[in-house]
Amino acid sequence: MSYGRPNNDYNIVVDVDEDEPTLEFQDFATAPNMQQGRMNTSGSAPPYQPPASTGGGGEADTGSYSVWHVEYWARYFNVDSRDVVQRVFLAVVPKDSFLDVYNANPDLWGTFWIPTSVVFAMFVTASLSQSIAKILAGGKREYDFTMLSFATFTVYSYVLTVGAFVYLATKYFGSQPGLMECLSVYGYAMAVWIPISILCVLPLDWFRWAVVAVGFVSSGFFIMRSVNQIVGRSNGKLHKAIIPLLLVAHALLVIVFKFKFFSYTVASVSPTSPGQPSTPAATPTPTPTSH
C-alpha cells in the first residue's frame, strides 16, 4: 500500500508495511537541527523522541559552539542540586524509572562526580579498615597508596567501557540509545557503593558479604531495568542477549571490589604479609605465624 501526499511544501511517499519501519523522506529544508522535528508518521514503531545527541552542533539556544568550547558542554550541567539528589535517589532505590526523569534534562554532573566519590570513598574505607586491622594485629600502621590508583582505574574504566559497550550494542541492534544516558546509568548505579563501603569497615566477614550482596542486587537491578528500557525501544528480540553479559560484567566488578577493598581482617595483615587481600576468614584472631 502506498500513497502520495500532494502538499505544497514537500512530497512524502510512504510505504506502510507491518514488519519494517516506515521509509520516508525527511524534510531538511526547514529547521534542520530541531531534534523534535522528526516526522514519524508510522504506525508500527512507537513515536520515540531520541535524547539530544552529542554529535550534532549545539544549536539549541546557546548559539553554535563546537566541542572545544566550554559552553557546548555547559548544556549538560543544567541541573540544580535538587534534581541531582532526586536522581541519585532513583538510582539507589529503583522505584520509578530513572531514564524518564533523566532524559528530560540530561546531565553529566552525576555521571562524573559519583564514580569519583565512589573511588574516594572506597580508598578511604579500605585504608581505614586496613589500618584498624593492622593496629589490632599489633603491627605498625601503614597504608597502600597504590590502592587509590587501582580504585580509580577500575571504577572509571568499568563505567566508561561497559557504558560505551551498551551504547554501541544497542545502537547496532536498532534501538536509539543516547551515549549520555548509557554512561549516566552506569555512573549513577555506582552511587550505592558509597554507603556500602562505609558499612564494610566493620570487620565482620559475613556482614560484609551480606552488604555487598545487597549492593549487587540494587545496582544490578537498576542497570538491568534501565538497559531493558533502552533495549525495548526497538522491536527486536536478539539483543536482549546482551543483558546476561552485562550481569556477568557487573558480578565480576563486585567480586573485584569485595576481594580488593572489603577484605581486610586482622588475620590477613600479619607482619609477614603486609597488605595482602585475605581469603574470607571468619574469626578475627592474629595468625599463629606472627609470633
Partner: protein, 172 residues
C-alpha cells in the same frame, strides 16, 4: 621600568605578592582584593611542598608513588573542580579559580608539617580536620562571587571532596 631595578627588588615584589595572597587566604579579613590578580607561583609552591612532605610520610618504597600521586591529584583536581564550576554556569575565570584553590591548599601544608613533626595520631586528626575546614571555608568564600543560584551544593561538593581527600592522605 622593571628591567632597571636590582634583581632583589623584582624577586622581592613577587614574593611579596605571593605572601600577601597567602595571608589573604589564611586570615580572610575584608574583601578578596589580593586574589584578583592570579599567579601560579603560589599554587605550584604549595603543591610541591605538600607532595614532598607526603612522600616523607609515606611507607617504605612507596615514597615516589605517593609524591607522584599527590602532585597529580592536586594539579588535576584543581583543574577539574574549576571546570566543574565553570560548567555549572559560574562566572569565574579559569586561572583565577585554579590560583585560589592552590592557595587554599596552604593550611593543608601547615597541617602536614605538623603531622611530620608529631607522629601521634591524637594530634594529627584534629589538626587536619581544622585545616580541611579552613581550606573549604576559604575557597567557598571565594566562590560566593560566582553567582550560582540553586547549584551551590553541586559546586561546593567537589571542593569538599578535593580537600577531604588530601586531608585523608595526610591523616593516613
Amino acid at each position: 621600568s622593571t628591567l632597571d631595578e636590582p634583581i632583589l627588588t623584582t624577586i622581592g615584589r613577587d614574593f611579596g605578592k605571593v605572601g600577601r595572597k597567602t595571608i589573604q587566604v589564611l586570615y580572610p579579613k575584608g574583601r578578596d582584593n589580593a586574589l584578583r590578580e592570579w599567579d601560579l607561583w603560589g599554587p605550584m609552591f604549595f603543591c610541591l611542598s605538600l607532595a614532598v612532605i607526603m612522600s616523607f610520610l609515606a611507607p617504605g618504597q612507596q615514597a615516589s608513588a605517593v609524591f607522584t600521586g599527590v602532585f597529580a591529584l592536586l594539579c588535576i583536581g584543581s583543574c577539574v573542580v574549576t571546570l566543574n564550576c565553570k560548567l555549572l554556569g559560574g562566572h569565574v575565570s579559569f586561572f583565577q579559580s585554579v590560583c585560589t584553590l592552590g592557595y587554599c591548599v596552604s593550611p593543608m601544608v601547615i597541617a602536614s608539617l605538623i603531622t611530620l613533626l608529631a607522629h601521634r595520631i591524637i594530634v594529627t586528626i584534629p589538626v587536619v580536620a581544622v585545616a580541611v575546614a579552613w581550606s573549604i571555608s576559604a575557597s567557598v568564600g571565594f566562590l560566593a562571587g560566582a553567582q550560582l543560584a540553586n547549584r551551590r551544593l553541586l559546586a561546593v561538593y567537589p571542593i569538599c571532596l578535593f580537600y577531604i581527600c588530601i586531608g585523608w592522605i595526610i591523616i593516613i
